[in-house]
Amino acid sequence: MYQSPTIMRHKSEAIRRLAIYIAAFTAVLFIIANQPTSGSCALETPSFQNRFKIPPCPFHSITGLYCPGCGSTRALGYLVRGLLLNSLRYNPLVLPLIPILTVGIILNFYEQFTKKRLFPSRFRFEVSLLILSLVLLLTLLRNIPMQCFDFIRPPE
């Protein structure tokens, strides 16, 4: 029988999910933090480009448009090195979303283990609407073909 996966996962499944999150997080951190840090712009140096090529965004490669996630790998790379302004320059969503995602993941697992809600649902609805509007606004602004919006596009 098909089981509804979103209502109250089994404990073992919740643990597996947590393991997947942690594994993905450590893998991303490992790849990004292991890159050479020579020069002001480590991710852009030719030595880096030759050693390891971060795959390009498929959406950007195919359509030429910028997605809200474009530049997020480089933004994470700068964030790991503590260059917050560079991180914001490449993708303004990564830095503000990290605390939201961390709190959200912890809340999710708290709920799945104790089966109690900490915050009312209305709060969640507003948060999801806020994030949706932020993402849509960023996508819209990035794809306006005008010079004055270059600041929000990731540099090549």
Partner: protein, 200 residues
Amino acid sequence: MTTIKHKMMFFYYDMNGIKHGPFQMAELRLLVNEQVVTPRTILETEDGQQELANQFEELFPHEQGKTTAPDINSFETTYCKNCGNEIFDFGKACTRCGHLITSEFTNDTQEPVIDTCLIDSILVTILCCFPLGIVSIIFSSLASGAITRGDYKDAAAKANVAQTLNAVAVILFFMLIFVVWILHSILANMDIHFPIHWSR
């Protein structure tokens, strides 16, 4: 566990509390097959003892040793009162027949915890496939709206859509990125750069 004398007659109470019977054990077994008698049905013996049907080994051989009143904080299975379907979670409604679970064992005032997949959707939008991620964020916010209304069935359905979209997006992303990565390297070697940029 109740010991049963043979040729004993039984009565059962249906969902509305109406007493049916008397039946013999063999007849009750037929009723179990037709899902009229479920593990949660209350049976009454001739001498007036009331028991849940899952306590009878003759009717439900696999149900032995299960708790009669499941603890809300445990992951034991429960059964829908209407159709006998196994319910693995303490949602508000049975997944098969939609019968509202308002038994004495579930706490009605407690809001069921439905994961609206918002975090997964954000991660998919930022790290993977953008168009599908947006759609799944929309679906997860619809799900939280449905929770606000109190429509938990609708919320679960919408959250399921969001989760399925996320899974599809991740699979599509890995397929696409493989193809694009290879194409990108081949074309870059041939000095062809195929992404078109607005600024140029």
